[in-house]
């Protein structure tokens, strides 16, 4: 540590000592979602309301299945990071930890269920 200059130690940390990573993670997922969101809205919107057999056949095709899997997985990771920042802004102490853990678990669970469901429909 003693060999590092003050600048080197501060680099990339921001004034809060961290969280530049949070911002960067949101940037990556938001660029991904900027592409995936319109694709998912159009594809999911076109099949919502169709009978079960048609839905199964639709998601047996590669394009709708891959778009749905990517959108839901990336979307829930984007949500996980976003809701964490909101909780940190409004809730403190034990409640903060509880909420962050609960929302993180929910996000991963929802993403896992979504991926399993799409995979099962597609394969």
């Amino acid at each position: 540590m003693a060999f590092l200059t003050a600048r080197k130690r501060a680099e990339g940390l921001g004034s809060a000592g961290g969280a530049t990573e949070d911002h960067w993670n949101m940037t990556i997922s938001s660029v991904a979602l900027a592409i995936l969101t319109p694709l998912f809205i159009l594809s999911f919107g076109s099949i919502l309301g169709a009978p079960h057999a048609e839905v199964v056949a639709y998601y047996g095709r590669p394009y709708p299945a891959i778009v749905a899997a990517l959108f839901l997985a990336v979307g829930f990771m984007h949500f996980k990071n976003g809701v964490k920042v909101m909780i940190e802004d409004y809730v403190g102490g034990f409640a903060r930890k509880t909420w962050i853990i609960a929302m993180t678990c929910l996000s991963y669970a929802a993403a896992a269920v979504a991926l399993f469901a799409v995979a099962r429909l597609a394969l």
């Binding site: 660029v31 919107g45 919502l48 839905v55 809701v83 929802a110 799409v118």
Partner: protein
């Protein structure tokens, strides 16, 4: 020294004393829409897992999502997701160091609100 007046001191002005501004309102709306979309996300995941499980499970999920209440939720979600989409693009633009002047930021905020309505109507027409 002990602070004899702790808890009864005048507070500095907070949110309530400010006139609503386009910049602050569009900012909080981004957060509200982004987090409220959790409900939509979970409903859609339910629809997918139901479709992958059985026809009867799918019938239940599909009934909820396409009922009048489901339609209302999906319509509001569409508005919310398009707004959040445009507000996100605005953030990515800001991240390049551009568009940060108050007037430009306000114009972009208004554009996001109007754009969300337009994109929602377009989606309903197309899909």
């Amino acid at each position: 020294m002990a602070d004899v007046n702790r808890g009864n001191r005048p507070l500095s002005p907070h949110l309530t004393v400010y006139r609503p501004q386009w910049t602050s309102m569009t900012s909080i709306l981004t957060r509200i829409t982004g987090n409220a979309l959790l409900i939509t996300g979970l409903l859609i995941v339910w629809w997918f897992i139901a479709a992958a499980t059985s026809e009867s499970a799918f019938a239940a999920a599909d009934f909820v999502l396409t009922s009048w209440f489901g339609d209302l939720v999906m319509f509001l979600s569409l508005l919310g997701v398009w707004y959040h989409f445009l507000a996100g693009l605005r953030h990515l633009y800001w991240d390049t160091g551009r568009g940060l002047e108050i007037e430009t930021a306000e114009t972009l905020g208004k554009a996001a609100v109007i754009g969300a309505v337009v994109l929602t109507l377009l989606t309903i027409i197309i899909v």
